[in-house]
Amino acid sequence: MVDHEILLEVKKLHVGYGAIKAIKGIDLFVKKGEVVTILGANGAGKTTTLRTISGLLKSTEGSILFDKGEITNTAAHDIVSLGMSHSPEGRKVFGTLSVEENLLMGAYTLKSHDAETLAWIYKILPRLKEREKQLAGTLSGGEQQMLAIGRAIMSKPKLLILDEPSLGLAPVLVKGIFKAIKEISENGVTVLIVEQNAKAALKLADRGYVLELGKITHEGSSEELLNSKVIQEAYLGKKK
């Protein structure tokens, strides 16, 4: 399923918040059909990287290419039309809109929403169908996460970016979320995922990067990273 064409390429990216340098020259790429994960401790710069890729933050240096086009200075809302969709950290569902309205906003860039996509989302995330008319703010945390993912794929993206989809969820829910992501990936959507849950992320992913204090310190196939001593100690909780 993975072919060799590169969908997303980040080159020598630098991002800062005023005087604070959060990202210090990182390179990464994602090929069509892949699932790629970025691991890293709190404050490593994972969210900053994702927000810069999707256009919410401006880089100070470096370039971002998506689907063979330069998007370094493209506005966030235009990047969505190019086929990238970002489900942000903390879910950020529209609390006073209904579940259905949230999903329709996900399809904002399409002339009319795709009934097939909606049906598919309701199939892999059946909870959402049951709560269709309910306000998103009244959903449980896990349901909100399902909604955030569903909303992000309503635009039929080529690349789905997920920032900590399992954050704050009970283990049984985490399983369900990862199952849904796997299904989305198997349907031909390329996935870039940031996770605290390194083990689950590496099991799902083809490749991974490790980010530490704004720099990439390790990269490789998921198997290599799972077997690496350093990664095991730092992120998989294994003792020497």
């Binding site: 919410l56 966030a76 006073t96 329709l104 996900g106």
Partner: protein
């Protein structure tokens, strides 16, 4: 009973105007968390611009329905453009600045508009022509209803219902609500936030323009500084209803208009303003976010 019914008619009339103006405050606040203090002055500008449009284009008398509709459409378009320029020049550069800077900018922009009105039309009161609407009056068992009042009630109701449906039932309206909740999340849906803010200013200013024209037609006398007075009342109405909440602005406007009219009818119009603020304080004590504000608590 006659006084009550008469003040009911008068109160709903002025309340509709408050509501139209209050919508402008509440929509801008909802999306930008900014009190657009220049909004009242746009209302005043509309009355003056409408007067000029009317006297210049239809100077040779013979008011027709077409003439009146043209005055309303043309003036609303002018004020909408001024509203959009106001956002571009006074608010957009301060979008990420502390809110206090934006408030100061809003107050400054209001003064600029007010002084521009004074420079163009002079400091003295202007009198609006009386022939835009027929002077028909109905006397129903001692309760007087004028044609102008019926027009104000009718057109305001239609505009408010249309706005309500637009905001709640259309894709663009849903996008406006999404931007009001979370601008970054809205961008990630592909929503152009600048475009939404522009639409907000077009709608809010155009509604304010309609109110300004009605104020001219209803009260006849217009002054360059009247925007402050109407703006303040409408702002209070928006807060009473729950600022940021669209049905709240409609409700708050009607309620304040009725309340003012009843105070004027049973006590004295001199007390109307005092009681306006007493009402505001009472509402805020029991409902700090306004009567319809914050219906749903969001989980964070």
């Amino acid at each position: 009973m006659d006084i009550f019914l008469q003040q009911l008619v008068n109160g709903l009339t002025i309340g509709s105007l408050y509501a139209l103006v209050a919508l402008g405050y509440t929509m801008v606040y909802g999306v930008m968390k900014l009190i657009n203090f220049a909004h009242g002055d746009l209302v005043a500008l509309s009355a003056f611009a409408g007067l000029t449009v009317y006297t210049n284009i239809f100077a040779d008398g013979g008011t027709s329905i077409i003439a009146v509709i043209t005055v309303f459409m043309f003036t609303a378009a002018i004020i909408a453009v001024v509203g959009v320029l106001l956002e571009r020049l006074a608010y957009r550069p301060l979008r990420t600045a502390p809110r206090l800077s934006a408030v100061v900018s809003a107050l400054g922009a209001g003064l600029v508009i007010q002084n521009a009105i004074m420079l163009i039309w002079g400091p003295n009161m202007k009198i609006f022509p009386s022939d835009l609407f027929p002077s028909t009056i109905w006397d129903i068992n001692g309760v007087v209803v004028t044609f102008t009042q019926l027009m104000i009630l009718g057109i305001s109701s239609v505009l408010m219902i249309a706005l309500y449906l637009f905001i709640n039932k259309t894709k663009m309206g849903t996008a406006i609500r999404a931007v009001a909740i979370d601008q970054d999340a809205a961008k990630l849906m592909g929503i152009n936030v600048n475009k939404i803010i522009m639409i907000i200013f077009v709608i809010g200013s155009a509604l304010g323009a309609v109110a300004g024209l009605f104020i001219g037609i209803y009260y006849r006398g217009i002054t360059f500084d009247m925007g402050w007075m109407y703006g303040l009342s409408a702002f209070v109405a928006a807060i009473i209803g729950g600022i940021g909440n669209i049905p709240g602005a409609m409700f708050g406007g009607l309620m304040l208009g009725l309340f003012n009219a009843l105070i004027s009818g049973y006590i004295s119009s001199a007390w109307a303003e005092t009681f306006t603020f007493i009402l505001l304080i009472i509402v805020l004590i029991f409902r700090p976010t306004g009567i319809l504000g914050e219906k749903v608590a969001e989980k964070v």
